[in-house]
Amino acid sequence: MSYAWPVVEVLELTKTFRVHRRAPGVRAAFGSVFHRPTESVNAVQGLSFRIGEGERVGFLGPNGAGKTTTLKMLSGLLHPTAGRVTVAGYVPFRRDPAFLKQITLVMGQKQQLLWDLPPAETYAMNRALYEIPRAQAEETIRELVAVLEIGDLVNKPTRQLSLGERMKCELVAALLHRPRVLFLDEPTIGLDVSMQAKMRAFIRHYNERFRAAVLLTSHYMDDVTALCPRVIVIDHGKLIYDGDLKVLVRQIRPDKRLTLRLSTLIERAALEKIATVISYEGGQAVLSVPPERLNVTVQTVLATLPVMDLAVEDPPLEEVMREMFKGPVPAAESVDPTSTRADEAGVG
């Protein structure tokens, strides 16, 4: 599938904040009345990338890396200090209504639903604000409500909804105008595992149904693994990787994970003779195996151990990220920011 037309183009994007610095204590508090020292913090530094129509891209980095700041600049909430951004052909910070009708920003920790009214009222308000024809709005609500299984919840006051219910209703509000570009900042935060899975399935459904571009940040790496063939990794506001998620995993943690379920308990030493043991508990073992030894190891395991079940996986993304940010930043599989990576990533 080809994604020739980039909907998000970011070139040398930079954001610098001026922040006040004050030491703790009464003296410093009085001092700051007369003199408030400030310093510049470079939240985003020279960031460049492109996202094509219909792509799903994970946006990763440690806390404070500049992910949310970047999303806010892409959605027009923040003015960049330098650099160029276009989203769907518009300059975001001008907040042209035609631009705002094509994007949505979902922040898991913020809500747009009217607190004391049922979500249906927020939908009515958004229908008016986004000038959505009534029939189209009703069709979209029907479809989203069915996919998200929220039924009558839309008529219950928002404050009476659980976090998961509220997040699903938030998504309907955020997608009512059928945006072409979705900026999702921790959309599954605080949700239980089953709800996270439902949200992921829904995001994928929306992306495929409307060919919407998705840029997703999440601390739940399962979100990224399940949804995003391509990831952009930043640290200290700088791009350190942009490319295929699998390539990143192979680059940082080339070893494979062999998960075994054993029919009888054996000595840990028997496992250690075969490969490095990551964990072994209750008859379930996880081994780390170099890729070049994978075939031999699997044969040995099947021949010598009482195996009921066996699975070969990449190391979890959490580990890859931990590895990536614990030492010096690896030589980035950096890309030419003027090329769209989606084709290479084989999205879709």
Partner: protein, 279 residues
């Protein structure tokens, strides 16, 4: 000229979008007010200073008029003042200050309608509830001091209605101006408190302007505070002649234009500095 043309086209487009969205915004806003009705009524009842002042001045005037004010005039003044204050005040400065600090303004900025249109609809949506609350006081005003009301003259009535709209707009844009200071300051609520103290004295909210020391009264009448309360109130109870009221209406709308320009200018500059805290 092109830039002016573009701005004008954009403004007209925004106004057209607002006009289409307004009925829904007003309906949703009214639903919100109804949801908050108990809190709303309690909050409204905190606007009680005119009643305190009425009690004091009514007692003072029992021995004879104070200036042009007899007991009945004070009744007309303070009941009328309370009604006008309730129908023209907005609480936007609190909302703006809180939303800017907490970053919740982001949701409004992401919608394709200027947030100030949405705020104005939200505040106007509270008017039916406010009208309901002021109705008994209006009835008391007509019963106790109906003969002091000058709006039986349709020309005065028209000026009064224009003055009410002007006062609402003026106060709304002052709130925009003060609230937008939160983009620059830790909080604009402190500045608002100072403004409120000035308003109380200079608008005739506490004491009729003509009972203030002459030099203070003169300054007050030249200031926009006069247009916010004293002008509609004194027009209502016949303290301003038709000619004076007409001139003051023009002055009031000139202030509306100036404060709208100032408020929108500070808003625009502020939005550029907005840091969208949280999340």
């Amino acid at each position: 000229m092109n830039a002016v043309g573009t701005s004008l086209t954009s403004l007209l487009g925004e106004a057209r979008r607002a006009a289409r969205a307004y009925p829904t915004l007003l309906r949703v806003g009214l639903s919100e007010v109804v949801a908050y009705r108990a809190e709303f009524v309690v909050w409204i009842l905190t606007t009680n200073m005119p009643f305190v002042m009425l009690a004091i001045w009514h007692a003072v005037a029992s021995d004879g008029p104070v200036g042009r004010f007899g007991q009945k005039d004070f009744i007309a003044y303070y009941l009328g003042g309370w009604v006008i204050r309730l129908l023209t005040s907005t609480w936007l400065v609190w909302e703006l200050s809180m939303e800017i600090r907490a970053g919740t303004l982001s949701a409004r900025l992401l919608r394709p309608l200027h947030p100030l249109f949405a705020f104005s609809a939200q505040h106007l949506a509270a008017l039916p509830m406010r009208l309901l609350i002021v109705t008994p006081v209006v009835a008391a005003l007509v019963w106790l001091a109906g003969d002091r009301l000058a709006i039986r003259d349709p020309r005065i009535l028209l000026i009064f209605l224009g003055a009410m709209v002007g006062a609402w707009l003026l106060i709304f844009f002052v709130m925009v101006l003060l609230g937008s200071l939160s983009f620059f300051l830790e909080s604009a609520v402190g500045v608002f408190e100072v403004w409120l103290a000035l308003f109380a004295v200079m608008s005739g909210y506490l004491v009729p302007l003509e009972l203030l020391p002459a030099w203070v009264g003169r300054i007050a009448r030249l200031s926009p505070f006069d247009s916010m309360l004293a002008f509609p109130l004194e027009t209502l109870i016949g303290l301003r002649s038709l000619g004076t009221a007409l001139r003051d209406l023009l002055t009031q709308w000139a202030y509306v234009a100036v404060l709208a320009a100032a408020g929108l200018s500070v808003w625009r500059r502020g939005v550029r500095r907005y840091v969208a805290f949280g999340g």
